[in-house]
């Protein structure tokens, strides 16, 4: 049997060379939508990936492996005395009440920022369609926080809500609210959640506006003609169609909350008062770079990494299955 006799079967292995370098015609594959890859061969994608992989190797994999090794060592900062201590650093963390508290705060912080950021951004993005006058201004205003450095954002919010001098704090006091993030840990937590959400709002907003714009008008209009109200149209048509973006944002928000909020915490509360805002990523920094306790800090990074990976896997397992990527075709 000759090969041409079964043209509908895909090739068993992907060819090394991209289509335009090979003789003969490229075969059209059946996978479509966001997940479909546009490459035919393997070499070109590999070449294109090489710089990024090199950067990852240098700045992620090598440090990560070294960090992993540190987690099992007890050593002085200058490195003259190194003891292998096995799982001791990790066990000490798992026993430590401070670490449990930090884990609890991280979960609380991450869930709160994810939910707050996403829901506010969704409302704002949904409203973008309805804003008829000054739409550009509306969008520009929403994009400003993204252009502000996290440390500056943290500092500005800390100042606004400072109980001694901040105008926002003065306003809260005038309402009879005893606002004091310098002493009250819950107030401080609320402050960093607000700051981090505000900072990340426009990231969510941009993606949601784009996703909403990609929903075909005709489908929504057809639903409207069939008598579905705005809420119903949103719940049954728009939301399922933007589900891939929603899923992506949930993952990104989780990663943001867990890893990228260091600068905001450092500028707003420095983990205080009484470690009430010392989430895991901040604790890693304090123990490693202030306390020079490299072993414990490395062990915390390892645990944080495991934690984040598990969370992402769970999210993929639970949510991604329900999502159809065949939207924009």
């Amino acid at each position: 049997m000759s090969e041409t006799a079964i043209p509908t079967l895909p090739p068993p292995r992907r060819a090394l060379w991209p289509a335009f370098l090979r003789k003969g015609k490229a075969k059209r594959r059946s996978v479509q939508g966001i997940k479909a890859s546009g490459f035919e061969g393997q070499l070109l994608p590999l070449l294109l990936l090489t710089p990024q992989l090199l950067i990852l190797l240098l700045f992620f994999f090598i440090p990560a492996v070294r960090g992993l090794a540190q987690a099992f060592l007890l050593q002085d900062p200058f490195g003259q005395e190194v003891h292998f201590v096995g799982l001791e650093n990790i066990m000490a963390l798992l026993r430590s009440a401070e670490y449990h508290e930090s884990l609890r705060l991280s979960v609380l912080f991450t869930i709160a920022t994810t939910v707050l950021t996403f829901s506010v951004a969704l409302v704002l993005a949904f409203a973008t369609d309805r804003v008829t006058r000054g739409r550009t201004t509306y969008r520009a205003v929403l994009l400003i926080p993204y252009a502000i450095a996290p440390a500056v954002a943290g500092f500005v919010w800390a100042f606004l809500f400072n109980p001694l001098v901040g105008p926002a704090a003065t306003f809260l006091h005038s309402l009879g609210i005893a606002w004091d993030p310098n002493r009250n840990g819950d107030d401080a937590m609320l402050l960093v959640i607000l700051t981090a959400s505000w900072k990340h709002l426009c990231y969510n907003y941009i993606f949601l506006v784009a996703a909403l714009a990609a929903v075909p008008r005709s489908v929504i209009e057809a639903a409207a003609v069939d008598g579905a109200g705005p809420l119903r149209r949103f719940a049954w048509i728009t939301f399922p169609m933007i589900a891939p973006t929603v899923f992506f944002l949930i993952i990104m928000n989780t990663v943001y909350g867990l890893f990228e909020t260091f600068a905001i915490i450092d500028a707003t509360t420095q983990g205080g008062p009484a470690a009430a805002t010392s989430i895991l990523v901040y604790k890693v920094y304090v123990d490693g770079f202030i306390n020079l306790d490299l072993g414990s800090s490395a062990a915390q990074s390892v645990l944080l990494m495991i934690f984040a990976v598990c969370l992402t896997v769970i999210q993929f397992r639970l949510i991604e299955r329900r999502i159809s990527y065949e939207v924009s075709q």
Binding site: L74, Q75, D76, P77, F78, G79, Q80, E81, H83, E98, G154, F155, V156, A158, F159, N162, P163, L164, V165, G166, P181, N182, R183, N184, G185, A267, T268, T269, Q270, G272, P273, A274, A275, A276, V286, D287, F289, I290, N291, L292, D293
Partner: protein, 440 residues
């Protein structure tokens, strides 16, 4: 001079067989000594000025000051540099990093270094709480550079309004005064960012309360904290009461406590004497300063220092070490010390420098600048007031602050908070002991 120089050039050229122009610059350019520091703002400029004075005073060496960020960032940078063998000759490390540096194996004790290069420093002349803090096995391990101690600044206008000309000497009397200041419409006091240093550590030294066993760590790495069995517990309780009653305020992120005081929104400010520069620069502020309060019935002792010292790092050639030694000797000269004292508000490190500043009439001009040094020299230091020598001292301090803040927020009683601080602190001390056994 010209012939000596040319002969050296020729000799060096012959020995190194390098192109002539290279050798010329080598012979003409002074040897560079890198000096990493953590002083920003005005004091950073003063530090640079000091290195310029040294560079102008001789031709063999040139000290290059390099700003590396905060004290914490600087000690990290030092660790990283040492591990990659790119360390500078001199680093400025805060007092809490003393044990880490001393036992690091990365340093040359300054007294040895300076003596080995033939400079004469009267080591016995250093002011006791300063020398005591940094002396190990009879020798200064690091050169006192910017030493300070906390004093009490106060707002004269707020005190006058309540009928007082100055703060009382004891904590109990000060408590009453601050309440009256508040009743008269005045503000509370502002808490400094490093309050643990004045309210717990200096409080214990001045009142002669034991902070930890083994003479506060001087006699061995197996030291254990004991401040949960001393009036430090009541001190935490006092802070909590003052916070509750509005007698004490926390500035928090975004606002500097110094600025709260200099803008007149605080009755008192217990802070480093180095705050003088900011306080004096504030226009329209009527202020005064007094020594720190003490507990009724106690004889007040000397306070302890804070600040930083200069460490000479290993791994440099003889000639570079000679330059490091020369700069260290220069920094300890009474003239340099007095200049530094006047320019920055840090205390002079030697008796000779203090006497010189007195003779020059500096304290007639700036009487409050003498408070810190008088407080440091008050009486003979006891085992409880000579200083603190704890490994991982930053970490034990942060644990202590965390627990104290739990008490301020009402989550724990002061006793419970300090018990927990001590047990966490002792665990941290044991970790240090384990790594450094037999090295102290």
């Amino acid at each position: 001079m010209a012939t000596a120089l040319s002969r050296r050039t020729v000799l060096a050229a012959g020995a190194a067989a390098l192109p002539l122009f290279h050798v010329r610059t080598a012979a003409a350019a002074p040897r560079e000594i890198k000096f990493w520091h953590a002083m920003s703002g005005v004091n950073g400029e003063r530090l640079e000025e000091m290195t310029r004075q040294f560079n102008a005073s001789q031709t063999e060496y040139s000290v290059t000051p390099i700003f590396k960020g905060t004290y914490d960032e600087l000690i990290n940078a030092t660790v990283a540099a040492y591990r990659t063998r790119t360390q500078p000759q001199l680093v400025q490390i805060y007092e809490r990093g003393f044990m880490t540096m001393l036992l690091s194996g990365a340093v040359v004790p300054v007294q040895e270094l300076v003596a080995a290069h033939g400079h004469n420093i009267n080591w016995a002349d250093f002011i006791k709480p300063i020398a005591g803090y940094y002396t190990h096995k009879g020798k200064l391990a690091a050169m006192p550079f910017n030493s300070s101690t906390p004093i009490l600044f106060y707002n004269k206008a707020h005190f006058a309004k309540a009928g007082f000309d100055k703060p009382a000497e004891t904590w109990a009397a000060l408590d009453e005064q601050l309440r009256k200041v508040k009743d008269a419409g005045g503000p509370g006091s502002i808490m400094a960012g490093d309050y643990h240093w004045s309210w717990f550590e200096n409080y214990s030294a001045i009142n002669d309360y034991q902070y930890a066993t083994k003479n506060n760590g001087f006699e061995g790495l197996d030291t254990e904290f004991t401040y949960n069995r001393t009036p430090v517990v009541q001190q935490v309780g006092r802070m909590k009461r003052w916070l509750d009653d509005g007698l004490l305020q926390i500035s928090g992120a975004g606002v500097s406590p110094t600025a709260v005081f200099t803008s007149g929104r605080s009755a008192t400010f217990i802070a480093s004497t180095a705050s003088h520069s900011a306080v004096m620069a504030a226009g329209g502020l009527e202020w005064g300063a007094v020594p720190l309060p003490y507990e009724e019935g106690r004889t007040p002792r000397n306070s302890v220092i804070g600040g930083a010292v200069l460490w000479a790092l290993r791994g440099h050639g003889q000639a570079e070490n000679a330059g490091t030694a020369a700069f260290l000797a220069f920094s300890a000269k009474p003239e340099t010390q007095v200049w530094w004292h006047k320019a920055t508000g840090y205390v002079p490190a030697t008796n000779a420098a203090y006497e010189l500043a007195k003779r020059e009439g500096w304290y007639k001009q700036a009487p409050t600048q003498e408070i810190a040094i008088q407080q440091l020299m008050r009486g003979e230091p006891t085992a409880n007031s000579l200083g603190y020598r704890f490994g991982n001292f930053t970490q034990t301090m942060l644990a202590q602050r965390e627990e104290a803040e739990r008490s301020f927020a009402g989550q724990k009683t002061p006793q419970q908070a300090m018990d927990d601080a001590v047990s966490r602190g002792n665990e941290i001390l044991r970790r240090f002991e384990r790594l450094n056994a037999g090295r102290y």
